[in-house]
Each structure stands twice: as structure tokens, then as C-alpha cells.
């Protein structure tokens, strides 16, 4: 066809992606956005709810049959594993190739075990979000905040907070659907979680050290790096050579880890290691986490790593938990059992004991004391009631039987019931002339 002609066929630009080609925040940085936060931003860019994006576009694309539930936001996979790999592949296609695998921990799947790696609660650094909001930067959810072992912000050295509304109950009804806005309180909709006015808690050195180590690791993945099992084995062997004359057993002992497990990590190419164990090794031999995992361990000044309890990241903020425990202690009425308090908070009794050992012990002591006192009081009341009943029966010249007692009380006590037992014991006392 010569230049004098053309055809009336609408030409389009290639094949644009189904979803907007939104770029993830802070690619190549330790503060990279999480995939969960990215999906929320994507839904916002399309002006649809996250639920609709998931149910109508993403779930059919990944062949996920599981229906939408309230916890769906938390079920966006971030952990190392094939499900995350599938999700990132599909989302990369839908958004036109945005390197979304970097927004997850899928790149560490050869080395690090996925169990208990991702926190179930949504957390944030109060100072990071406030500084973003003040500088007009769009708020987003950092991948690092999603890692269970990260308790502190390595930049601001403050403890992360769980995203729980700190506003008064009356203000909470103002929000309608908070799931769709990253960096906003899910309950009241306040930007940068300003509803929580409590002061930032300073993180311990151990928490900051662990967060910094993990931040370096995240930066490696965010820049396109992938963890390789052979590099990790090489790193472990080198550490054993440098510190323990090549003996893995000695290294395991030094790190306080099981010998057989340590042997498996180094010799079984299919085994994966937990992040906690890795931090324990790094802390014991004073080497950086990233250097160990990439096969060239570099040593640094000593930092004591305190192994955290898995339940430390309860869905409520530590301050709120503490305040609740203290209020239980101050109560005039019967103190609730520790198990009931834990159930109310959605955590385990053990996590409460581990996090607040002194307070928890006091709560247990007081609740036991209160419970015993209440029991004693109830028993006294029952004794009194039975004594009155016996007196009444004798006045009416009736024999002290359970049947006669039932005529007055209006209900029959069995001989093994609490009231029946007391009544029969008192009858024996009367017959014996004790009363």
C-alpha cells in the first residue's frame, strides 16, 4: 500500500495492561512497599474497593477459589512460597510488569522458612507515617513492617505500632470503609494514624539491631537480589571456619541452636532456616545477616539479640494491654482471669505472661484471691439459707427431708447438689445436737 492510502481501522497502542501500571513505592530501598499495600493503592487508583479488585480481577486471574472474607487483606501472600510467586506473576501481567516480586519475600524462598515470618497484624512506624504526611508524600505500607521479627523502625529507632484506632468510640463511626486507604486508620479514617496520640516508644538496642539487619536484607531483595541456598551454605561454613575451627557442632552450641538442625541447614539443600535462628547465629558470631546469607560473612561489633516471643505482635498496642491489665488490678469487683483477658485481647496467656511478667503475675494472684473470696462468700450465703430453711421446717413440725425442703423452696435439690449437700450436712448436725 502506497503512502497515498490508509485504512480506517482503529489502531491502538500495543496491548495496554488491564490494571493501571502503578509503580510500587521505593523500589530498591529497604522501605519498599508491600504487595498488600500495593494492591490497596491499585484499587484506590481504579476507584474501586479492594474487595472488588480482589474478587473480580485478581482472584479469577490466580484461580483462587477462596471467597472474600474480612481477613482477605491479610491473606495477600507476602511470604516465601509458590503461592506468592503465582500472585506476583499474575499481578505483573495485569499491571504490565512492575517487578512486584520485590514487594514480597518470595526472593528468599530457597533459604528462609515461611512459617511465622509475616505478622498477622498491620503495623506502622508512627514517625515514618507522620513525616510522609507532613511532606505530602503518599502514604504506603512498608514490606518491612509486615515482618514478624521487625519490632522497631531502624530509621527512627522507635517501636512499631499495631494499626489500631486510638480515637474515642464516638469518632469511629465516621469511617466507612478504611480497608481502601493505606496509611489511614482503618476504623476512623484519620490520615497517618493521628488518632493515636500516645508518644512513640523508644526501641531497645536489640530491636533496632534486628530491624537494621532485616532492613539490609529487604534492600537486597528490593534491588532485585535473590537468596541462594549455596551462598548461605558457603557463608555458614566460612563462619564455622572463622569462629569454631570449622566445627558446625561448636557453632550450633555457641548459637544455642540444635546440633542436628544446624547440620541439616548446611548439608540438606532442601531445608530452610527460620529468620529467628539466622538472627541468633548473627548475634552469636557478630556477623551481619546479609553477608552471612550471601556467602561472605563480615563481622561487626557485638550486639545481644534477645529472641522475641512470637506473640509479641498482638493485634493491640502494648500500652493498651498494659493499661488494661492495670485497670483490672485496680478494680474493686472481681478481677478477670488472665486467660479471659488474653481471650478478650485476642492473644495467648503465654504472650501476656512473657510480655508483662510482673503485671500478669499480680493479675493472676488478685484474680485467684478474688475468686476464692467470692466462693467463700457464696458458701456462707448458702449455709445461712439452709440454716433458715431448717429452722422453718422445725417450726412447722416437718421432718428435715429434701422433699419437705422442696415444698418451701419451690424446687427440688438432689442430694449431690451443692445446696442439697449443705442441707443434709446441717440436718446431720441438728440431729447430732451440734446446732
Amino acid at each position: 500500500m502506497s503512502d497515498d492510502y490508509y485504512f480506517d481501522v482503529v489502531s491502538s497502542y500495543g496491548n495496554p495492561s488491564i490494571l493501571h501500571p502503578l509503580e510500587p513505592k521505593n523500589i530498591g530501598e529497604s522501605t519498599i512497599e508491600s504487595l498488600a499495600g500495593y494492591i490497596v493503592r491499585l484499587a484506590r487508583a481504579h476507584h474501586i474497593s479492594t474487595k472488588n479488585l480482589m474478587v473480580n480481577i485478581i482472584h479469577p486471574a490466580v484461580d483462587q477459589e477462596k471467597s472474600w472474607a474480612d481477613s482477605a487483606y491479610a491473606t495477600i501472600p507476602l511470604h516465601p512460597g509458590s503461592r506468592t510467586e503465582k500472585w506476583t506473576n499474575v499481578l505483573n501481567q495485569l499491571t504490565g510488569g512492575q517487578k512486584l516480586e520485590r514487594c514480597t519475600l518470595v526472593w528468599m524462598q530457597d533459604v528462609i522458612a515461611p512459617q511465622k515470618l509475616i505478622s498477622k497484624s498491620q503495623r506502622y512506624c508512627p514517625q515514618c507515617v507522620i513525616s510522609c504526611a507532613d511532606n505530602g508524600i503518599e502514604l504506603f505500607d512498608q514490606l518491612m513492617w509486615r515482618i514478624e521479627l521487625v519490632l522497631a523502625c531502624p530509621l527512627h529507632k522507635v517501636r512499631l505500632r499495631t494499626a489500631t484506632c486510638g480515637a474515642a468510640p464516638a469518632a469511629k463511626s465516621a469511617g466507612l470503609n478504611r480497608r481502601s486507604s493505606a496509611g489511614h486508620c482503618r476504623q476512623c479514617g484519620i490520615k497517618a494514624y493521628r488518632c493515636d496520640t500516645s508518644a512513640s516508644e523508644e526501641a531497645t538496642k536489640s530491636e533496632v539491631w534486628a530491624a537494621s539487619q532485616i532492613a539490609d536484607l529487604i534492600k537486597h531483595g528490593a534491588s532485585g537480589g535473590i537468596l541462594n541456598k549455596n551462598d548461605f551454605i558457603k557463608g555458614m561454613k566460612k563462619v564455622a571456619d572463622d569462629i569454631c575451627q570449622g566445627y558446625l557442632v561448636r557453632l550450633a552450641k555457641k548459637c544455642g541452636l540444635p546440633k542436628s538442625q544446624t547440620w541439616r541447614w548446611v548439608n540438606d539443600t532442601n531445608s530452610t532456616i527460620s529468620l529467628t535462628a539466622l538472627l541468633q547465629i548473627c548475634s552469636a558470631v557478630h556477623c551481619s545477616l546479609l553477608s552471612l546469607l550471601t556467602g561472605n560473612p563480615t563481622y561487626e561489633p557485638k550486639t545481644d539479640f534477645v529472641r522475641y516471643c512470637n506473640q509479641t505482635h498482638s493485634p493491640l498496642q502494648l500500652k493498651h494491654v498494659e493499661a488494661l491489665l492495670r485497670s483490672e488490678l485496680k478494680k474493686d469487683a472481681e478481677t478477670a482471669a488472665l486467660a479471659n483477658i488474653a481471650k478478650k485481647l485476642g492473644v495467648t496467656t503465654r504472650s501476656l505472661r512473657d510480655t508483662f511478667p510482673e503485671l500478669a503475675a499480680r493479675v493472676v494472684k488478685k484474680s485467684t484471691h478474688d475468686r476464692l473470696a467470692a466462693k467463700k462468700l457464696a458458701r456462707q450465703r448458702d449455709e445461712e439459707e439452709c440454716a433458715n430453711l431448717c429452722r422453718l421446717l422445725l417450726e412447722k413440725n416437718l421432718t428435715l427431708t429434701l422433699n419437705n425442703a422442696a415444698k418451701i423452696v419451690g424446687k427440688k435439690w438432689t442430694k449431690n447438689s451443692r445446696m442439697g449437700t449443705i442441707f443434709l450436712r446441717q440436718r446431720m448436725d441438728i440431729l447430732d445436737g451440734k446446732m
Partner: protein, 355 residues
Amino acid sequence: MVYSDSDLIKMCREDMIQLPTRSRLHWFKLLQVKHRELESVIHDMAHLIDPDIETRIISLIGMTGIGKTTMARQIINTMLKNYWGDSIKPNDIPYIFVPAPANGEKSFSWGNFYTRALRSANEILIDKKVQDANSEGVSKILKSHRSTVVAMREALESLIIHRNVRVLAIDEATHMLRFDHYAAVMDTIKSLGDIHNVKILLIGSYDLFDLVTDYGQTARRGEILHYKRYHENNDEYDDKAEFKAIIEKLQHKWPCNDIPNFAAISDELMQATLGSVGILKALMLSSLKLQLSSKNESWRPEHLKKASKSVKMLNKIRIETEHGEEKIAGACYGESFFSGNDFFSRISQKMGAAR
């Protein structure tokens, strides 16, 4: 066998002659010729849609059936590809073409318009758009059972930003502006143009002129591109020769063995089509259909009787067009303070002397 458009456009005339009647007719329908007026409009348009040029609203005005819609649908994508191909990313949608809805309502339906615009950009879940209200640091998602107009507007704005939309073309824009409150409509259109420097292209016949010129913002930030027809008595160019060349080009691609000599009656065809290439194309297409359905596919001059427009209809179009041309004269792009022939030559002389 049924051929798709993409298959047909790859074929030459010789291949085409072997194909069934329907395919040949469709091939000829798809075929367009380039000509002087079209090239001129494309050239001006390419200049005006440059993001660095202040013009925000471009009105493409021309007589009915001249080929404005065809041009807008087909050419602008190619134009964008040629001029800004490097800066356009694979997932960008640089051009959205929206036919303005005329649904018999007493006022213009923005909901309908936004739905069409979002649909033409293949936007997802159009009926599930939610309004995103941020005020005083509190974010709210305003839930609704179906998409509201505000929600769809926000979704369109977001699409313009995220997909780097450069041109939003609204075909039959007169449908939007024929109501009393057209200033409000124009305000809304203008505000769309303010997002991400997107250019608004309004396409319509001469009715559009009154509406856009009454709006002050269009005068300041808009330009009118006149897609002209060919005139028998044009002082500047030899329109007769150009029109004849167009006929020859179309005749050259005639998908039948018996090729009618349209070029011989180019003057008469110019009169019968009022110099409009669009009407000429329709006439030739109708002639082709008649020829293809006749015995041995042979051409007979009688086909022209039915293929051309009736005299009354043609007169009606002529009156409207002449009235429109008269109205639009002096208001179009290029007809500026410096465009008077004598004045321009004086200016040129002055500038030449100064240099």
C-alpha cells in the same frame, strides 16, 4: 470465508478481486485516501496536541459527512505514534475516543458520557466505582450500590493520570452542548482538560462553532480547526485538480475488473458531492455495491442515479454548509492577525529588512 479487518488491510487490489463480494465491499470501505485538506488538518492538529502548546480545547469542525470522525478515530493514534512514540510507554493509553451520547433526555447525561469514556479505555469494573472523599485528613470511601457520577468522574481523572492520556476526543460534541446550560458543560470539559495537561478534541459540524465560541475559555485556550471541503472556485489552490486526483486514487483501487472512469466526470462528481471527500467515498461505495450485485459485475452509468444523494437532500446540506462556512470564516486556526495577504507581505518585508 470471513476475513477480519486486519486480514483485509494486508491485501492488495489484485488479491481482493478474487474475494467474495462482501469482503471486497468492506475492503473498499476501509480504504481511505490521503489528500491536501486532510494533510493540512493533520499537520495543524499535530502542532496543537503538543503538550507544550497552551491550547487545551481543540474543536474539529467541518461539514457533515466529510470524514471528521474517520480522521479522528484513525489518524490521531498514528499521529501520536509518529510524534511522541518514544515517550509513550507500552501501558499508556494516549488517546481516548468517546462518541457523545444522545439518549433523548432533556439534559446531558454525564454518567453516560463517563461510562463511555471509561469503556473506550477498557477500564475495569465501571459499575463498581466508589467515590473517594478526603477532607481534613480523614479519608472516607463513600459506598454506593452502583457507580455515582462523581465516582466515575474521579475514575476517569485517575485513568487520565495513570495512563498518560494525551488526547480525549469527543465525537458529535454538539450533543453535549445543545442544552441551555452549555457553559456548565464547557466548564466541566475544561476542567477535564486541566488534569495532567490532556487535550480535549471536540468533533462536530458547524453547530459546534456557536457553542464553543460563546464560551470565553474556549476563545482563550481553544482553537478551531476547519476541515474544509473542496471548492470549485478556490482562488488559492486548484481544488478541481486535487479532487480529480482523489477520484483517481480511489478508482485505482476499485475492487472489480470493470473499472468505471470516474475521473472523466470529476467536475460533475464534485458538484454532486459538494466537494466533500466523505460524500464522494459514500457515493463510490454505493456505486460499487450496485455494480457488484449486477450481472457479470459490469458497471453501468445508471448506478450513479441511485448512488448519489437526492437533489433536495444535497441542497439542504449545501445551504447548511455554506451558512456554516460563512459563520466560521475568520475564526479558525491560522486565520490570525497576521494572515491578511497584503498585511502579511508587508510584515515579511519588514522582518526581512530588519534581518
